[in-house]
């Protein structure tokens, strides 16, 4: 078994965890990828294989397919993904959490993954 985890899943779920703690609406690409690496590690420890599907093309597709949710932004010289003003945590959960396999969802919500985001 191998799970494919795309940038849209990573960005949205990382953002959900940040918003639940009321922290911020912007995540750098680096933070998102570190969060993803931890998610993969947790799944591996549970006997599941997972790979992150990340590239410039996938990121472009994210902004094209989910333009109502996300926009590219830069803060303190670091590029990343920003949640649009009219979107809230409930919208993200509705759009990006329902279809996930349970094992992946639990890895996204795991305290270790969330800690990587500094929340």
């Amino acid at each position: 078994m191998c799970f494919y985890i795309g940038i849209e899943d990573l960005a949205a779920n990382a953002m959900i965890e940040m918003l639940k703690k009321g922290v911020r609406r912007f995540l750098t690409y680096n933070e998102i990828e570190m969060y993803g690496a931890e998610v993969v590690q947790i799944l591996r420890e549970n006997g599941e294989k997972a790979v992150l599907i990340l590239s410039r093309e996938n990121t472009d597709a994210l902004f094209r397919n989910y333009s109502e949710f996300f926009e590219e932004s830069e803060q303190n010289g670091k590029r990343g993904i920003k949640l649009k003003e009219n979107k809230e945590v409930e919208d993200l959960i509705q759009q990006f959490r329902g279809y996930l396999a349970l094992d992946v969802l639990l890895a996204f919500m795991n305290q270790r993954s969330v800690q990587v985001l500094g929340a």
Binding site: M1, F3, Y4, E33, S55, D60, R97, Y99, A101
Partner: protein
């Protein structure tokens, strides 16, 4: 003695290739490998679409030459520069010729396997920096995978430099060549780098570049697909540069507007009618699973089937005496046919046993569901259920088929979910979605039982294909109108209406595939396509 060799191309006529490129690049085994890497996965739909990366590379070289001639002329006209534009142009053309030299078998299907453990770019990027020999270049390599070039682009830059080193006199030349192929622009803001960035964006960008231009023209020509004509000569002879926020960028003179509209139309038409056609999507999907399976079987610690070593002439040895060099489609075919035969291999070769799409276009789908819901919330509910089911399926390797084991897995997940501690909103949405997915799969299961066919379905999303063409970026391309005092510049997005068409509408569409009865020797009569659609709609929505 002739300086050029002429190669006849069905689209451009004679392409003049310098003898030194012909002898030292084109005729080498590393470049000839591209003859055995198919360009697209369109052949199940358009039988003649068996063109390869070799002819495409020659085409890109030809368009690259037109670009260089025009761009140098325009730069000279607008800026007083002492830089060696001819040298830059020659390297750009070399990059055009070699831009796909590292392409994986079956084009984009296999390239993800070039990446390291966990699909990490670090190894590939480190190899590129080492090959160029310029640590300084690393500052412009994205630190995040999210901004990284496609793996085959990085691989092509590495192979281009390693195999054809005699064409580079300096580290700077290697660096520019690699940047052209990967699209990694110079961040340092000198005017020379600014001009070099203009060249780079003509080979690798989200807007019109010679790579996209050739595939749009060639794919339409070879398939026989009726689309608009792209007057590439008019387009590239209108190429210029314009200054914006203190920086030069690629622009076009007004003469190109009609061609630009046609490029957008041709791109959208190819995407809508070919790239996202269910038969093409299915071909790519089974190949992706076959390649994943082969990699799993063959990869041995640090030795990988999809790697620089396998692409080289020297090749490498794997366990059980398996030897791979100049890795191409033929090797994958041999392995899937002889060494690692699987049910998917069977489907690849025995086309009649492939799953069939219930509807073959959005128009057909609409016709099936139109008398049940002409739009509104019922249709939305149905499409949401199909979409979440497809997303659930495509995100894991062992649950991509709707069958009895998937149903059991979903039931179990739902059971565990009820007793798992999590925030209420997430739990509500997960349960709601699991219910929706279960409705879809139970409906299909019951239909299969009624019709005495196997419960064996697949749902694929049209969004699985990435074209690399970004309309927002394209909208920002400048058009130059010559005036009495100079030039009036306007962005394409503000003056070309074709740009307004939304790109994502078709992306979120989905196709349902079913397994036909064994030994079926009559046409299409094992299920009623509209009937299955209606049952699904009724079971899911009500």
């Amino acid at each position: 003695m002739k300086n050029y060799k002429r190669v006849k191309d069905p689209i451009y006529g004679y392409i003049k290739i310098p003898v030194t490129y012909m002898t030292n690049i084109v005729d080498t085994s590393v470049f000839q490998r591209l003859r055995r890497v198919i360009q697209t996965s369109y052949s199940p739909l358009y039988s003649s679409a068996v063109h390869n990366r070799f002819v495409h590379s020659m085409g890109v070289f030809y368009l690259g030459e037109l670009t260089v001639n025009q761009l140098i002329k325009e730069v000279r006209k607008k800026i007083n520069l002492s830089m060696d534009l001819e040298g830059i142009g020659e390297l750009f053309k070399l990059a055009c010729l070699l831009h796909d030299v590292g392409h994986a078998p079956f084009s984009h299907t296999g390239e993800g396997f070039y990446l390291g453990k966990d699909h990490n770019y670090t190894q590939l990027h480190n190899k590129l920096i080492e090959t160029i020999g310029n640590e300084n270049f690393s500052k412009d390599i994205p630190q995040d995978s999210s901004s990284a070039a496609a793996p085959h682009e990085i691989m092509s830059a590495i192979i281009g430099i390693l195999e054809f080193g005699l064409f580079f006199d300096s580290v700077d030349q290697k660096e520019f060549f690699a940047r052209c192929i990967t699209g990694y622009k110079y961040s340092e803001g000198t005017i020379e780098n600014n001009i070099k960035n203009c060249f780079i964006s003509m080979l690798n960008s989200k807007v019109i570049d010679v790579d996209k231009l050739d595939y749009l023209i060639r794919d339409a020509y070879i398939t026989g697909f009726d689309t608009v004509n792209i007057d590439f000569e008019r387009l590239l002879s209108s190429l210029t540069i314009s200054k914006e926020n203190g920086k030069y960028k690629i622009a076009y003179y007004k003469n190109a507007i009609s061609v630009i509209e046609n490029v957008v139309y041709a791109h959208d038409a190819e995407r809508k009618w070919i790239q996202t056609h269910p038969v093409v999507l299915y071909e790519a999907y089974i190949l992706q699973h076959i390649i994943g399976y082969l990699s799993e079987k063959i990869d041995d610690n640090d030795k990988k089937l999809f790697s620089l070593e396998s692409l080289s002439k020297k090749g490498q040895q794997f366990k059980n005496g398996l030897s791979i060099s100049l890795l191409c489609d033929d090797d994958i075919i041999y392995l899937m046919k002889n060494s690692f035969y699987s049910q998917l291999s069977e489907e690849f070769f025995e086309r009649r046993i492939r799953r069939h799409p219930v509807w073959k276009s959005e128009a057909e789908y609409k016709a099936f569901v139109l008398d049940m819901a002409s739009g509104g919330s019922l249709l939305e509910k149905f499409e949401q259920a199909m979409s979440v089911t497809a997303k659930y399926l495509i995100k894991s390797t062992d649950s991509w088929v709707i069958d009895d084991s998937l149903i059991a897995k979903l039931e179990k997940e739902k059971e565990i979910l009820i007793t798992t501690d999590m925030d209420l909103e997430t739990k509500r949405v997960q349960l709601e979605n699991k219910e929706m997915i279960l409705k879809v799969v139970h409906s299909l299961e019951s239909y299969a039982n009624e019709k005495d066919i196997s419960c064996n379905f697949v749902i694929l999303m049209a969004s699985q294909f990435n074209s690399g063409f970004g309309k927002p970026d394209f909208s920002a391309t400048n058009i130059a109108f010559q005036t009495k005092d100079g030039e009036k510049i306007a962005a394409v997005g503000n003056i070309v209406s074709a740009i307004e068409a939304k790109e994502r509408d078709r992306d979120n569409f989905f196709y349902l595939f079913y397994k036909r009865k064994d030994n079926l020797n009559i046409d299409n009569d094992d299920i009623d396509n509209q009937e299955i659609c209606k049952k699904l709609f009724k079971d899911v929505v009500f």
